[in-house]
Amino acid sequence: MKKWYCIVLSLMMRILVAQTWITNPISNSPNGVFVDVSLTFDSSTNQVFAAWADGDSSGGGAPYYSIYDPLSMIWTTNQIPSSPFGVFNDVSLTFDSSTNQVFAAWVDSNSPPYYSIYDPLSMTWTTNPISNSPNGAFIDVSLTFDSSTNQVFAAWTDGGNRGGVPYYSIYDPLSMIWTTNPIPNSPNGVLFDVSLTFDSSTNQVFAAWTDGDNSGGAPYYSIYDPLSMTWTTNPISNSPNGVIANVSLTFDSSTNQVFAAWVDSNSPPYYSIYDPLSMTWTTNPIPNSPNGVLYDVSLTFDSSTNQVFAAWTDGDSSGGAPYYSIYDPLSMTWTTNPISNSPNGVISNVSLTFDSSTSQVFAAWGDNGAAKAPYYSTFSTSTLPLPPSSGNGKKITNRFPYEKEWFNSLNWTASPSANVIRYNVKRNGKLIAKDLMQLNFNDFNRPENGIDIYAITSIDTDGNESSPLIITVR
């Protein structure tokens, strides 16, 4: 009964809250036949990073990267310097929260994978081949950050006709050396795709990959145990066989479940949820999804609403917009729609990431059918305005010739929501300032000693009030 109540409530909320994507080309980007794009969120600077590879067979080029400034909402795009030119098939990004560095990796069709580290202080990339890696016709690479050991994991697949097993490599931040090995116990195959994610509840790295040859098969997954430093590889259980072009993983930190999703070339996308207790996957098609020649899928976890987002692309020649679907953990249902305001295109790839500073899901994709700039789209899970993204407060002694009083000086950054026009301030639950136009407030006559907790909320043009930004002043 309680579950039904939750489902009804969830559906009502979904109807009440109009959710739309805002789609635009990534600014300052050159046009190109971009076959792959990857996103990651840098939580140290609250910036979203995008990178994409130029898969044009006429000459290729170095991968591009772009950094999204949440205040100006502008991307700054450049090529990753010191990168060899190549017809790169894939690029992947991850954020190393121990060093606040963004890692990029990409693969060529006949060389070892390259990686590059972005230093946020000097704002430069340092590019090198992943050490100890064999050459190969690599068509995909994936990165993830293991926050328990502060190590970056890379994995890539060999898509050449001769097949092979996936490789993985672990980057040691102290020696700055990669240690590369094949993922053991993995069957050979013409592997098209690999994806990594880190399960912070068990401190295990999950890998999943697909065998895209004509004989079909279920996706494989492997779990890396950091204690024994071994992989345990199995096919994803309860999965139908198919010519699977792509797989994606993400970790849902609210339920401690790993989600996998993959696309077949002529069926709706599938998703699977890994139960860490029974160590089994539960696999189903994402409902309400149209069939298509689906090329790519991406997953991300929205920690503000505890929802998993999936997005995928239809790469057939007739073109189309990418689709997305949101998994509601209460009702355990997906709601699928095309990404709104998106131009049609022969889209071969899509990537998702969640910006926890603005509670927005970012999607980005490239068009494989025409020379265009990549597109990105932002999705806010709520129509409520966003609160100020950061703020601080301090107690200040205000000295007059014969009197002394204390006030709390508060300031905050503007809400990332464009239609926010005013701010309210509550102190210890009581409204003390309303409809402020400025981004600061002084609360006078406070006790010399004591703690005040302030809640700053944004008010938009429709009068909607955001969730609060909490500032504590001691």
Partner: protein, 238 residues
């Protein structure tokens, strides 16, 4: 007025052009034409072998009234950060008791606009210290006829402070009155030229005073209104 002036110059000329040096031991009681304006240095019997001589001196000064202007440096760092430093105006009256001592009364006035330290609200302050004390003089140099004189002095006095602050902020009192007792000490140098005097001084004062408030969470701490004042002025000797 002119007549007396010429009499004094005439008396002085007698001293200046006399061939005999004046003897402080054998000065007679002067009974010459400039008697009314020539003071007897010592009223003692004339020695038998002494040649009578008339010496004219400028009248001994009984006191002076002066107006001074000084640079006011508050000792309180809070006051300095609120109103800073500024100009102090002083009116002082000194009545001499003998050659070395004097009683004095003075009133200073300091006023300045400033800003509160936290949110920089406008505020203004005035301080009125009133002193009643003694001065000890030491003559450093004087002309033969005492028309010109340079004296050092040391002053010490209890001081009564009156002060007020006007605050342009809604969360504190608009007006604060404060009063209290303190003390001052000072040194100075006075150059006298007839009735005219020029004073240079350095005063140090100390007092902690405070105001009262009824506003919750506002405190009225003791405020050190003592200061260092260095300045000078002009006065009238009588």
């Amino acid at each position: 007025m002119k007549f007396y002036k010429w009499l004094f110059i005439l008396c002085s000329a007698q001293i200046l052009f006399s061939n005999e040096s004046p003897s402080t031991d054998c000065l007679p009681i002067a009974k010459n034409h400039c008697r009314t304006h020539c003071r007897i240095y010592r009223n003692q019997p004339m020695a038998k072998n002494c040649k009578p001589q008339t010496v004219c001196f400028y009248p001994e000064r009984q006191g002076f009234l002066e107006g001074n202007v000084g640079y006011f440096y508050p000792f309180s760092s809070d006051l300095r950060s609120i109103v800073g430093q500024g100009i102090d105006y002083q009116l002082s009256f000194t009545y001499k008791i003998g050659e070395r001592f004097g009683l004095f009364a003075s009133a200073d006035f300091f006023t300045k606009d400033g800003r509160s330290t936290g949110d920089h609200s406008k505020t203004s302050l005035w301080i009125l210290p009133i002193s009643l004390g003694i001065k000890v003089f030491a003559t450093f140099w004087q002309s033969d006829n005492r028309f010109e004189e340079l004296d050092f002095y040391f002053a010490i006095a209890p001081r009564y402070y009156l002060s007020s602050a006007t605050n342009h902020a809604s969360y504190v009192d608009h007006k604060n009155f404060a009063k209290g007792i303190g003390g001052m000490g000072g040194i100075g140098m006075i150059y006298s030229y007839g009735h005219l005097s020029l004073d240079a001084f350095l005063d140090v004062s100390y007092s902690k005073i405070h105001s009262h408030t009824s506003i919750p969470k506002v405190k009225t701490p003791n405020v050190q209104v003592g200061s260092l004042v260095a300045g000078g002025g002009i006065g009238y000797n009588f």
